[in-house]
């Protein structure tokens, strides 16, 4: 960026973007873009609205949110992609929800299990077939602890009654069968899929009083909620919680089980990582069972330490002292070593960060720990409260876009020329063509974990690897 006032420059870019649209689309997109200053306390973005057709949005659908995010990682359930073959195929092993266990025997995370709808099923309905399918699955995979039925678009359109099938088959196989009405046309993004999936868990696990294993009562029992264990994230976070002296009796949904989901209600405190995708469950559990929940952030030293203290404040002095002890004796030296190694290599770099509905605000401070400023950010599927929360983390003038599309991204890269972009697979290759280093920040670009202390080391290494990769100096041939 030139010497121009940063905010003025941002507003100019915003105007240039809007000028490229026809009137209707400009009017719509105007509500989704804002240049906020560090001191701003309000973000005017009107989020969680319909996608403008034809702009090439990055969003997915409700099914992606329900199957890909919430249900898919529960390892001892059979997750049926109910409908035509494609949805399950494209999402097969595409989110790296690590889970221990023997695949196909007591761990079904990396399997594509589908009803593979044919034309006759559209015409005559799929309920009978689904009933038989669930029985077949239970026979072939006898160690499963439950089934989820994840509806694809046609199911809702042809009027199938998956709830009735679920009730009947649940009785028959003696295990929970959880229907989830996450047809891709519902809502405006993945986000409604998260919500619907949360509601399915509420209605078909908690309200039906599905039992987990017996748990020894302890004042230190906690539940780790909404960590999907991408590249092992939840394990790295769990390690911190255990070292603080807490018992993690329930982890979900990454590397989770039906028992752990059910036992969430036995925790003394629910620790919520991805607010956007599972705050519905934590609110429900608070209301129904009186269990408090704490939002926390295990990305980067500043937030890890802050979150550890915040979590510890809900427990007695023993936990608080232990927390301070491990921060001082164990974690801080590791943080110092990593920061001293990588900050000099990343200091002063500008980053564009655009993913999901939570991660940008969680990761901005981790970047700052390494000297990287996030200058452009936003979410694919956030709600208004997420933007309000984002401002807490913004320390410099920041260009914020909701539901960014390919055209806007092109304009932003051209105008701001960031040193690093963190976004998804669909954005990766077009960005790299422009000579800009890129990391996929949904899948950790096949690396990870990024959460926790062990994760921060990998995060720092990867960001250095991206920004300082040898190849980025070879874009222009020597004769040019």
């Amino acid at each position: 960026m030139s010497g121009k006032n940063v905010h003025e420059h941002g507003v100019e870019v915003m105007e240039e973007i809007l000028e490229g649209y026809n009137d209707g689309t400009a009017k719509d997109r105007k509500k989704k873009i804002e240049v906020v200053k560090a001191e701003d306390v309000k973000c005017g973005i009107n989020a969680n609205r319909k996608i403008r057709p034809g702009v090439m949005s990055m969003r997915g659908c409700a099914y992606a949110g329900a199957k890909g995010v919430v249900f898919g990682p529960i390892k001892d359930m059979i997750h049926i992609s109910h409908g035509p073959v494609g949805c399950g195929q494209y999402s097969w092993s595409a989110r790296r929800n690590f889970a221990n266990g023997t695949p196909g025997i007591n761990n079904f995370v990396t399997m594509q299990i589908t009803s593979d709808f044919q034309e006759k099923d559209i015409v005559f309905g799929g309920d009978k077939m689904l009933t038989n399918l669930i029985k077949e699955a239970d026979q072939l995979f006898p160690l499963n602890k439950g089934v989820s039925v994840l509806s694809e678009c046609p199911i809702g359109l042809i009027g199938d009654d998956i709830e009735a099938v679920s009730r009947a088959t649940s009785k028959e196989i003696g295990k929970p069968v959880v229907p989830c009405r996450c047809e891709g046309f519902r809502g405006v993004s993945q986000s409604l899929g998260h919500h619907i999936a949360n509601d399915s868990l509420r209605d078909w696990i908690y309200e039906k009083e599905v039992k987990g294993v017996e748990i020894e009562d302890s004042p230190y029992n906690v539940a780790l909620l909404a960590d999907y264990n991408i590249g092992g994230d939840a394990w790295s976070s769990r390690k911190i919680l255990e070292e603080m002296g807490l018992n993690v009796i329930s982890q979900s949904t990454g590397d989770s089980t039906v028992s752990e989901i059910a036992n969430l209600t036995k925790a003394k405190v629910v620790l919520l990582h991805c607010y956007r995708s599972m705050n519905y469950i934590s609110r429900y559990v608070e209301e129904k069972f009186g269990i408090p929940w704490v939002e926390f952030n295990f990305f980067g030293p500043t937030q890890i330490v802050k979150s550890m203290r915040k979590i510890a404040s809900h427990f007695d002095e023993k936990i608080q002292q232990q927390t301070e002890k491990i921060i001082a004796e164990k974690y801080q030296p590791q943080f110092d070593e990593i920061v001293s190694k990588f900050k000099p290599r990343l200091d002063g770099k500008n980053c564009m960060l655009f993913v999901g509905g939570l991660r940008p605000r969680h990761i901005i401070p981790a970047f700052r720990d390494l000297g990287v400023q996030v200058v452009i950010t936003g979410y694919e599927f956030a709600h208004n409260d997420d933007y309000a929360r984002t401002l807490e983390y913004v320390e410099n003038t920041t260009f914020i876009v909701d539901d960014m599309n390919e055209y806007e991204m092109e304009k932003l890269l051209e105008n701001f020329k960031p040193d690093l972009v963190g976004s998804g697979i669909k954005e990766k290759y077009s960005t790299q063509k422009q000579g800009i280093p890129f990391r996929q920040m949904h899948s950790w670009d096949y690396s990870g974990p990024y959460h926790g202390v062990d994760g921060f080391k990998v995060f720092a290494r990867d960001m250095d690897m991206a920004v300082n990769g040898a190849i980025w100096k070879k874009i222009t041939p020597p004769w040019k």
């Binding site: 490229g20 649209y21 026809n22 209707g24 689309t25 996608i51 057709p53 034809g54 090439m56 969003r59 997915g60 659908c61 409700a62 992606a64 001892d76 409908g83 073959v85 494609g86 195929q89 494209y90 595409a94 690590f98 221990n100 023997t102 025997i105 007591n106 990396t110 299990i113 589908t114 009803s115 709808f117 034309e119 099923d121 038989n132 077949e136 026979q139 072939l140 160690l143 046609p154 519902r186 993004s189 993945q190 294993v213 748990i215 590249g231 092992g232 394990w235 790295s236 390690k239 089980t257 028992s259 752990e260 070593e337 390919e406 055209y407 092109e410 077009s430 290494r461 874009i475 222009t476």
Partner: protein, 502 residues
Amino acid sequence: MSEKIKDHVSLFNGCEYQDMFAEKAKYENAETDAKVQETLEWTKTQEYRDLNFKRQDLVVNPLKACQPSGGLFAAIGFEGTMPFVHGSQGCASYFRSHFMRHFREPFPTSCDAMTEDAAVFGGHNALYLGLQNTYELYSPKMITMVTSCMSEVIGDDMNSFVKNAKEQGYIPADFPVTFAHTPSFVGSHIVGYDNTMMAILSQMGQKRDHKNDKINVIMGFDTYLANYEEIKRIFKLFGAEINLLSDPSETLNSPTDGEYKMYRGGTSLDDLRDAPNSKGTLLLQKWSLLKTAEFIEKEWHQPVKVVNPYGIEGTDELIMAISELTGKPVPAELELERGQLVDAIADSYYWIHGKTFGINGDPDLAYGLCRVVMEMGGEPIHVLVSNGSKDWEAETKENLSKYEFAKGAQIWAGKDMWHFRSLLFTEPVDMIIGNSYAKYLERDTGIALCRIGFPLQDRHHLHRYPTIGYKGGLQMMTWIVNRMLDDIDKKTMYTTSYDILR
């Protein structure tokens, strides 16, 4: 760097994490190791196989995607063409991600992002705005639309929607918008390729009185980009003119030079329009072009030749078909290449002869791989194709019955990779050939996997090599024999057989 940073590859092997996992198991309601082991062993039995093959409705790990994705792949090979999905945004995002993970390239696709109101009132308003914004923002020369299962179930009338979009001024009247019906609940990605290719040809082709000297070539759902270069090179050697209909080889192989261009190369729209006037058409896949073949024969009155251009025999058929269609003799260079492939196989086949293979992939590729393997003396035992039709099954059985090396071959159409797992446990083979998902079978059965097919998401750049023609035959043979040697090395590493000379 003082201490090496551990990522997921090794981090969790440490005792800190292993102890944590053991502790966590208490909360998981986990089965005992003995029970898991017992069940695992049971899944390897004939009893389990029988149960597995009895299922009517459950589909586990199929090897097929849905129609619209195949349609997008047909569309992206035309000049300045923006593929477009009439359906939920999620569909478009899934298709794009799927292709991008394979090619490691941008794969633009627009979408009208239909939501619940469109499901109730029809998708026309979304489509009008979608076309308008796509046209204005991304300046395509053509938009090719495919449908999703949602728009198919509600029965949107694409023909009148496109007409209305033009009449109401959302897009210019003369702007080409081609569209195909690609219901996800019929067929698979190869049927979507066929439907979309036929739609593009029938909606864009302009018949003239006189035929020209070109030969149309359509590759089918072929994700090996070097094959597009290979067929052009072969035609050049013949001194014959090719009209390659859908050529994504530039747009999916663009340079990193500081600038991103959404469209690169592709079949020019002029060549597309001229396709009906070619003197003949050559199809390099059969099962992904059934309707297209019929259309070209009936509507364009062209001779249509279909070949399966893999290995020596398949390439011989390709070369003779070109010779026949063009009336030109086989160039000496190609005869030389043929001899070089025969030479290479003669050097290597001892490691393959008598070895058994489990092959899975799309119908045309699976049959081609059988022939490639048999030319090295290998024996296909299981040929499993999730999107193989009854016709494919019958024809492939008939074709393979002519080969000595296919005596033990069993053809499994419409089966999935969980069926395949049972087959591999009860009737093991020496090598699996398949796509990236087959690595799960390699893990479960311990049988070496040679990666040929689509998608290949866990290995890099394999799609940049040819698989058709004599050069493609050499490439596939190299992959197969070296994978076999890697496996033998692995198995003999601590024995006297760990030879330098192989």
